[in-house]
Symmetry: C2
Subunit: 448 residues, 2 copies
């Protein structure tokens, strides 16, 4: 993409109401623009990151055996009256009346609708298990939206729903999502720690929040350092095999959010120098809730013996738009974002220090073509801005690699390559740049 | 995908209120489920088609130089008060009040919001032209939603907006979209005919509807047969070059919807045996509207001379979800859908006539792996349903190729391959199937 044709409106001033780094940087780097309280437009640069995060989430859901579909944003109130949640949900639900005076709502989540869809199409235990998911915009009318996309009102969420004949089978579905989530966040460069969460009236131990450690996290968290150092299951893991050993490994150590924290247990079970007491951002939540919706909504299947059985359900959420904030919180410095390559809006920023100079232009065009043909995504700064502005802009938007072409370097046929993550700069012959940078990018896109 | 793990709830009965083929078939084939008047959930099979259509639209927008972003579904009423459309829009606008009593709305279109975004980020004529687009759910509170996804209330639309310094430049942007639209629909197997449309108070000739001919179309259309036979510009066309000759070629012949039709001109300008009088479905609409929004909303740029100039704008819509209906109307028979390969939910239906039989299972697994490894998308019917049910199901969902494996054929190491488009059946050695079907699919995915 040529910057001259792109739409990248950077902010010079830091917006006063942006309290955390990710919010500030997303506004300053022209990734988002606020269109209302907790409502954002995704400008081209932010949109690209959103799409990449969404695609990683999708790939790992598919790998785990979940099937994608898409439910509408607007739901009927009657559906929520069936489950009893219409009145219970409170003011966070955006309630709407259409022109025919029907009570509607902008879906904050989809347990009711997926249960309705399931019950209409599945009749027998032989058709189970099923796992369905969608990635769709939700709306929650937060009283105090803040922290940019971290706590917005209109937000993109991936929600999966599992349907099983009994609790043992439901646990297998739960385990699939548990492993899928570890992998999903790891592929974005995030170390997520599953922490036992409130299960509500159902009880049991089948609810986990996935927490990313970050100084600006919304809640205090406590865990054993061994969890932070634990290896993520690799892509060859068999989702149809027994995943319980993996789950056991990740749940053997102490890990709790503020709400669930037990200081005595923490001190008893965790060696002193392994005690991590930090702040965290919730990026996923998985939850088994049995027949909470299937019984009131009559989502039953014919069992192996006579009689209908309400299905055992679970739901599994990932905050897709929120993840942009979480990744920036984990990867930034004073100058801007430092995107991990798999979620970077572009892989390479190509900086032409003297646009209009024949030699600089020709060299940049050649590099642009060579990199692009390898599948490397290049944002080419072909504008007439001054070098200082170009450097600051590239640091701010935080692409993993910067390739700088200027008249002085070209006298020796040399280019400068900067790695944004560590700031390292290397001068190299122009004709080795495409191979050098291309192979670094492609290597970073591989995953275990 | 193995059908045993998929979610494909077919309907045996044809729903009474579904008046047209696409609506009936989408419900019967388990592609959509109605969740409210004019509101549909996209079940896994329908979702896949929706995504493929969206991706073709996206690729052709990018090729034409438009930059993708994403605006939120919920908009502030104040923005629409600026343009004067808040009161003018009427009851089709879904108006919402949030918990803080702010007037909001579910966006039916985005001229106001994109103008607001543009004016905040662009200052100089040197930054023009710009073309921005998004693919987002819209809501129009139709009084009488009908024809399934063809006239729903919540629908997916691609809308592009162009910003230019003067009318000549705006015409160049318009021409890019004109050509992109011809290509977009052609890649889905649709012959679209650009027809001059009402331009409203601005006048001029810069508004075209793109119409697909179909018996069930909502409006009567009239055109010269030469338009139907005209070749679509191929992918090597230079969008930065002069596209006017292409536009001239496509606008030289008579073509008009009901509203614009002039019977005398039709008879005068079109030879009798070239007069096409048919019904059509609108799948796209492009529109130049000058400073209609930029002047009231103060979207100006510094001009080359002193003083600010309001930008010249255009908008360009494609009905993404509606296209599913249009494609089915064009490609179906009594038994079901007949998807063109580029938009088919899967390319191949692999039918195991005796699931559980060692030889049938092993052969199917091998074919499944061989086809998948070529990039061919396979829906594998591994269920225990009876042959008649399996054949009817495959015809209904309409994948381009069916590969049938049964114990009788396997005695001679033979499989049957059926082409859904023409119903042709061919018996061939099992070990030639992957190569034969794979190359047919890959060839159909190439485009000019």
């Amino acid at each position: 993409m040529r910057l001259s044709r792109y739409y990248l409106p950077l902010l010079k001033e830091t917006p006063a109401d942006a309290q955390i780094a990710s919010h500030r940087l997303m506004l300053r780097a022209g990734m988002i623009r606020q269109e209302g309280a907790g409502i954002y437009a995704w400008l081209p640069l932010g949109f690209r990151v959103l799409k990449k995060i969404e695609q990683i989430v999708r790939e790992e859901q598919n790998r785990a055996g979940a099937v994608e579909m898409l439910m509408p944003t607007i739901q009927s109130a009657d559906l929520w009256r069936e489950s009893g949640r219409y009145d219970a949900y409170g003011k966070e639900m955006l309630r709407i009346t259409d022109r025919a005076d029907r009570d509607m709502l902008y879906g904050p989540t989809n347990e009711e609708m997926i249960t309705e869809i399931f019950r209409a199409g599945v009749r027998s235990y032989k058709d189970l298990p099923k796992m369905l998911y969608h990635i769709q915009w939700k709306f929650r009318d937060e009283i105090r939206p803040r922290f940019g996309v971290m706590r917005g009102r209109e937000f993109l969420m991936k929600d999966t729903y599992s349907f099983d004949i009994d609790e043992a089978s439901a646990r297998a579905s739960y385990n699939k999502m548990f492993v899928a989530y570890l992998r999903t966040f790891a592929r974005m460069g995030l170390k997520s720690i599953p922490m036992r969460a409130e299960t509500g009236p159902i009880g049991g131990d089948l609810s986990h929040e996935f927490i990313v450690l970050a100084e600006t996290g919304e809640s205090a968290v406590f865990c054993d350092r061994q969890l932070v150092d634990m290896d993520t299951p690799n892509k060859d893991i068999d989702f149809d095999g027994d995943l319980q050993p993996v789950i056991d490994q990740f749940t053997a150590h102490y890990a709790a959010t503020d709400e669930m924290h037990d200081e005595a247990a923490f001190e008893k079970n965790v060696e002193e120098n392994n005690r991590v007491s930090a702040r965290g951002i919730e990026v996923g939540h998985i939850f088994f809730f049995g027949d909470k919706y299937s019984t009131p909504m009559n989502a039953v299947v014919a069992g192996p013996d006579a009689g209908d059985i309400p299905v055992q359900m679970g739901s599994y959420g990932v905050g897709v738009s929120r993840l942009l904030g979480a990744i920036i919180e984990a990867y930034h410095d004073e100058s801007g974002c430092k995107w991990p390559t798999p979620v970077a809006p572009y892989h390479v920023g190509l900086v032409n220090l003297r646009a209009g100079d024949d030699s600089c232009d020709a060299t940049c065009e050649k590099l642009y073509a060579e990199l692009t043909s390898q599948g490397v995504e290049v944002l080419y700064d072909d504008t007439s801005a001054r070098p200082g502005e170009k450097f600051a802009r590239m640091d701010l938007i935080g692409l993993p690699y910067q390739v700088v072409i200027g008249p002085r370097g070209l006298e020796n046929d040399e280019a400068e390559v900067k790695t944004r993550a560590d700031g390292a700069k290397e001068t190299m012959p122009v004709d080795t740049v495409a191979q050098h940078v291309g192979s670094a990018v492609l290597k970073a896109l591989q995953y275990a």
